[in-house]
């Protein structure tokens, strides 16, 4: 239940990008929430919707993509999606694995409206 503090961190980045690009409005935000990120997408949406009120992202739509928990075996190279989150290689039973997806909590894209560029002289 720490979705609100995540949204607060997310808004730091959103506002910084909005300033940098001189945005008028933020209309959309896309985030990646891995299957084992420890975050409930529905709660993140509710937190986002209450946090955005009165900000530059007031009308923004949040899109959440959910990368599945994916591991790669360092011994045989097999890549596997595991819904049980077990760190074991089904091909060679090795326990030497790296997690390639599923832990991420990433701000992927911001859609914004900016002033029309000045016409070329």
């Amino acid at each position: 239940m720490h979705e609100l503090s995540l949204v607060a961190s997310m808004f730091e980045a959103l506002l910084e990008q909005a300033r940098h690009h001189k945005a008028r409005r933020i209309t959309g935000v896309k985030v990646q929430v891995g299957a084992l990120a420890g975050v409930v997408p529905e709660l993140l949406e509710s937190a986002f919707d209450s946090y955005k009120k009165g900000t530059i992202a007031d009308g923004a739509v949040l899109t959440i993509v959910k990368p599945p928990f994916t591991i790669r075996c360092r011994a045989c190279g097999t890549e596997t999606v595991r819904t049980d989150f077990a760190l074991a290689c089904p091909a060679c039973a090795s326990a030497d694995l790296e997690i390639v997806h599923g832990m991420e909590l990433v701000l992927e894209k911001i859609e914004m409206e900016i002033d029309d560029p000045l016409p070329a002289p």
Binding site: A13, G38, A86, E108
Partner: protein, 222 residues
């Protein structure tokens, strides 16, 4: 008005990760082993720290950061053992974040060997936040049941050490220690598992020896 898509691809917890990395560098340059203790409320984190305080007395210096939603109680228990302790009360937040540790860090003595950080009792949210620790230790106590690892996978997948605590209560409970261990190891085969009781002292010598070895590894790199 023109539309613009900005691809950011930035970790939402980037600032926490950066703060945690700075804390880790700072502590390891001082040859301090930092341990982040995670568990549900009542699994025995504070009682374990009291037992470790007694066992480390005269052999090593330790300090403790206590995380709780309210009260100084845990820090007072640790101070009563003669150990410097700092209480962070989160006022509702379900976990500690690196910047909370960063605020306390300047007050921590520089010549300690071990810094134990007792996280807020919660097996869910603390697992998402790096605090700059070298070792993440998760406790699972016998009364909680042996079926917890798969129910709270992130805590077990991200931990380095699993302590099956309150082993002294096992005769009275249907806790299957082999099942709990197997379930946790299936999630994370690299977990170091210790069966302990802070009350009877079971397993604590092995745990202390392990902590000293982990600290030596840091000291040899620093």
């Amino acid at each position: 008005m023109a539309k613009k898509d900005v691809f950011v691809l930035q970790d939402i917890l980037l600032s926490n990760a950066q703060t945690a990395a700075a804390i880790r560098r700072e502590l390891e340059s001082r040859r301090i082993l930092a341990v982040n203790l995670l568990s549900s409320p009542g699994a025995g984190k504070t009682t374990l720290l009291e037992a470790l305080a007694d066992r480390l007395k005269g052999r090593a210096r330790m300090a403790v950061i206590e995380g709780d939603i309210e009260t100084e109680r845990d820090a007072e228990r640790i101070r009563a053992r003669g150990i410097p302790a700092w209480q962070i009360t989160t006022g509702g937040a379900c976990h500690l974040e690196a910047k909370m540790i960063g605020k306390v860090l300047p007050e921590i003595p520089t010549d300690i060997d071990f810094l134990f950080i007792e996280n807020v009792g919660n097996l869910v949210c603390p697992a998402g936040y790096d605090l700059g620790e070298r070792l993440r230790v998760v406790l699972l106590s016998a009364p909680e049941g042996d079926d917890k690892p798969k129910k709270y996978p992130r805590a077990f997948v991200t931990a380095d050490v699993l302590l099956l605590s309150k082993a002294d209560l096992r005769p009275f409970l249907p806790f299957d220690v082999e099942k709990a261990k197997a379930e946790a190891l299936a999630l994370n085969p690299k977990l170091r598992v210790f069966i302990i009781s802070a009350v009877s002292g079971q397993g604590l010598d092995d745990l202390v020896a392990f902590l000293f070895r982990a600290r030596e590894e840091i000291a040899s790199r620093a």
